[in-house]
Subunit: 301 residues, 2 copies
DNA sequence: CACCGTCATAGACGGTGTCTATGCATCACG
DNA sequence: CGTGATGCATAGACACCGTCTATGACGGTG
C-alpha cells in the first residue's frame, strides 16, 4: 500500500470513473486499473464494483474512505509543513472570497500581495460563505475572506477591516435629497440578493427585516442588483468597496444613519500549519484597506 | 514521499540511530541512509543532525513528526479495517424480499441463516418487485428474493425453490368439497392483490385472466386477502408458504389441478463482488425449503 | 450495424528501492 | 598518539514495480 494508491482511491471515489480519475492523477487509465486491482488484492478487499458504465465504491470502500482521507491529509500536511519550513511565504495559497467582496477587493489587493509576497501564488476562489467554509474544512482552501461572525471551534479567524454599508439610490429617488439615509427608510423598497449571500441577511437585519415583503425579486449578483436599482426598481444597501461600481452604474450613494456595516475577516483551519502565510496575506490586505477605513470614518468612501 | 519513508522516520526518531532503525525496519543500514537522504532532498528539509555517534532529530523534524505519526496511524487503520472486511461472509447484507413471501419465509430461514452465517448481519427489506429491482440497481440492496422470471442483463439470478400455489376457499364454498380444484373454476369469484404485486399477475395468469372483472376489490396485503376470503367474499390463490396463515384464518386449502406455482429466485447485480455471500445465503434458504418441496410434490404443504 | 466511451489485459521500458562491498569520521583506550 | 570499534555515507549491481502504448471486451447510441 502506498500514499499514491490512496490518492488513486480518492480520485476514483470523487470522479466515479476510472478514466477521469486517471486523468486527474496524471496517469493512464490502464495504469490506474492495474494499481487498483493490485491494491484490492493486497488488502483482500474489493474496493469498487465495476459495472459497465458506472463504478460504485463498495461498502468496504466506504468504511475505508475516512482513513484514506485522513492519511492523505496528513501526508499533505507533511508536505505543507516542509514547504513552510523552507519558506512559509511561498507556494500555492488558495484563498476563498465571498462574491460581494471579490470583484471590488481583488483589484485593490492583488498587486500589493504580489509585491509583498512574490513567492506566494495566490489562487482566489469565489463562492458563498457556506460553500467556502465547506471547502476550507475539506482542505481545499488555505484561508477564506468572510463577512460573518463565528465559524466553529475548528476554525480560527482574524478581523482585517470594517466595511461600512451605503444606501444606493436611483438619482430620482425621494431619499436622494438627504445627506444621510436612515436604515429604516430604506426598508420600504429595498432589493436584496438571493439566498445564501451573507450580504442579503445583513442588509435585511440592518433595515429591520422589513424589506422582505416588498421585494420578491432577489438578484443573484451584486452587479445585477445595482443595475436593477439604477433602472428604478427600488433601493439597496451595498458594501463600501462597491461604491465605485455603484457610481459607475449611475446610482446615488449616501451614508447610513446608524452606520451599519460588516467586518471582513480572514478565516483558516485551527490546525493549519502555514500560519505565517495567513498572517502575511491578512497584513497586506489590512494595510491596503487602511486608507479606506479612514475615509469611511470621515463619512465618505 | 512514501509511507515506507514515514515509517523510516519514525524508526530513526525512536532508536536515535540509523543502524538499529534499519534493523527494526528489516533493511540494511546503507539503504536507510540513502532513503532518508533522498527524502530530505525531496522535502527540502534536513530531518536528522548526524553528529558522529549521535543522530538527533532537527526542529523541523519535530514539527513534522506529529503528522508523520498521524499518516502512519491512518495507514495502519486502513490495513486493520481491511483485515476486518476481508471475510465476504461478514458484514451487513441487505436482502430485499417481496411482501407475499417475506412474512412466511423469514420466520423459517432467519434462525438457520444466523446459525450458518453468524458474521453476516442480514437486513431484510420488504417491498414489491419493481421497487426491489430499483434499489438493487441503486446499490441499496445486496440481493433480493423475487418470484419473477428475468430481470435484465445487468442482474443475475439463481432459482432457490419452487412454491406451488393453492386454492384458498371459505369452508362453505361450493368448490370446498373437491379434493383438487381446477384453476379455471377459481376464476369466477377470485380475489387478487393490488397492482404491483407479482402474485396478482401470476394468480390471474393461472386462472386465465378471467377474474379481473369479478373483483373490483384488490387487497393491499395477503393477510387482508385471506380475511376477505374467510368472510365469504370470494376465493383466492395463495403461495404454498402462506398455507399456515390461511388455515389459521379458517380457510380450506386445495391443490390445483394444473399445479400452478412460482419459482423463488435470489437476484443480484451482475458485477456484485460478494458473490460468496449471495451463494451462501441462497444455499441456506434452499436447504431449509427442501423438505417443503417434497411435501408439495406429495400434494400437501 | 458501426461507432464511441469505458474498463481490462499484455508486453516493453525505465526508475528506484534494495543489496553487498567499501570508505570515512568519530570516539574510546592503551 | 596510534589502533580498533562503531556508525554513517558512497558506489555499483540487480530485481521489482509502476508506467506506458497497443489492443481487446463490453455496453450504449445514432
Amino acid at each position: 500500500m502506498n500514499l499514491r494508491d490512496l490518492r488513486y482511491i480518492l480520485a476514483i471515489a470523487e470522479h466515479g470513473q476510472f478514466s477521469r480519475a486517471a486523468e486527474a492523477c496524471g496517469i493512464s487509465q490502464p495504469t490506474l486499473s492495474v494499481q487498483i486491482r493490485k491494491l484490492e488484492e493486497a488488502l483482500g478487499v474489493t474496493l469498487f464494483e465495476r459495472g459497465g458504465k458506472s463504478v460504485v465504491p463498495t461498502e468496504a470502500c466506504d468504511r475505508l474512505l475516512g482513513h484514506v482521507r485522513g492519511a492523505v491529509a496528513e501526508a499533505d500536511a507533511i508536505l505543507a509543513v516542509a514547504r513552510d519550513l523552507r519558506d512559509p511565504l511561498a507556494g500555492r495559497f488558495r484563498l476563498g472570497i465571498i462574491p460581494t467582496l471579490a470583484p471590488y477587493l481583488l483589484p485593490l489587493v492583488f498587486a500589493p500581495l504580489r509585491a509583498a509576497l512574490p513567492a506566494l501564488e495566490i489562487e482566489p476562489w469565489e463562492d458563498q460563505t457556506l460553500a467556502l467554509l465547506e471547502r476550507l474544512r475539506a482542505h481545499q482552501l488555505d484561508a477564506a475572506l468572510l463577512a460573518t461572525e463565528e465559524d466553529g471551534p475548528d476554525l480560527a479567524g482574524e478581523a482585517l477591516f470594517e466595511e461600512p454599508f451605503l444606501a444606493a439610490l436611483p438619482p430620482e429617488h425621494r431619499l436622494a435629497g438627504q445627506a444621510v439615509v436612515d436604515e429604516a427608510d430604506l426598508a420600504q423598497d429595498i432589493l436584496v440578493l438571493a439566498d445564501g449571500h451573507c450580504l442579503r441577511d445583513q442588509a435585511l437585519a440592518a433595515c429591520g427585516q422589513a424589506g422582505l415583503l416588498g421585494s420578491t425579486l432577489r438578484s443573484a449578483s451584486l452587479s445585477t442588483l445595482l443595475n436593477m436599482v439604477a433602472a428604478g426598481y427600488g433601493t439597496t444597501l451595498i458594501p463600501g468597496l462597491a461604491a465605485g461600481a455603484a457610481q459607475d452604474a449611475g446610482l446615488v450613494l449616501r451614508p447610513l444613519a446608524a452606520r451599519a456595516g460588516r467586518c471582513i475577516r480572514i478565516v483558516w483551519r485551527a490546525g493549519y500549519p502555514r500560519r505565517a502565510a495567513v498572517e502575511a496575506v491578512g497584513q497586506v490586505i489590512a494595510a491596503r484597506l487602511r486608507p479606506f477605513a479612514q475615509g469611511a470614518a470621515a463619512g465618505a468612501v
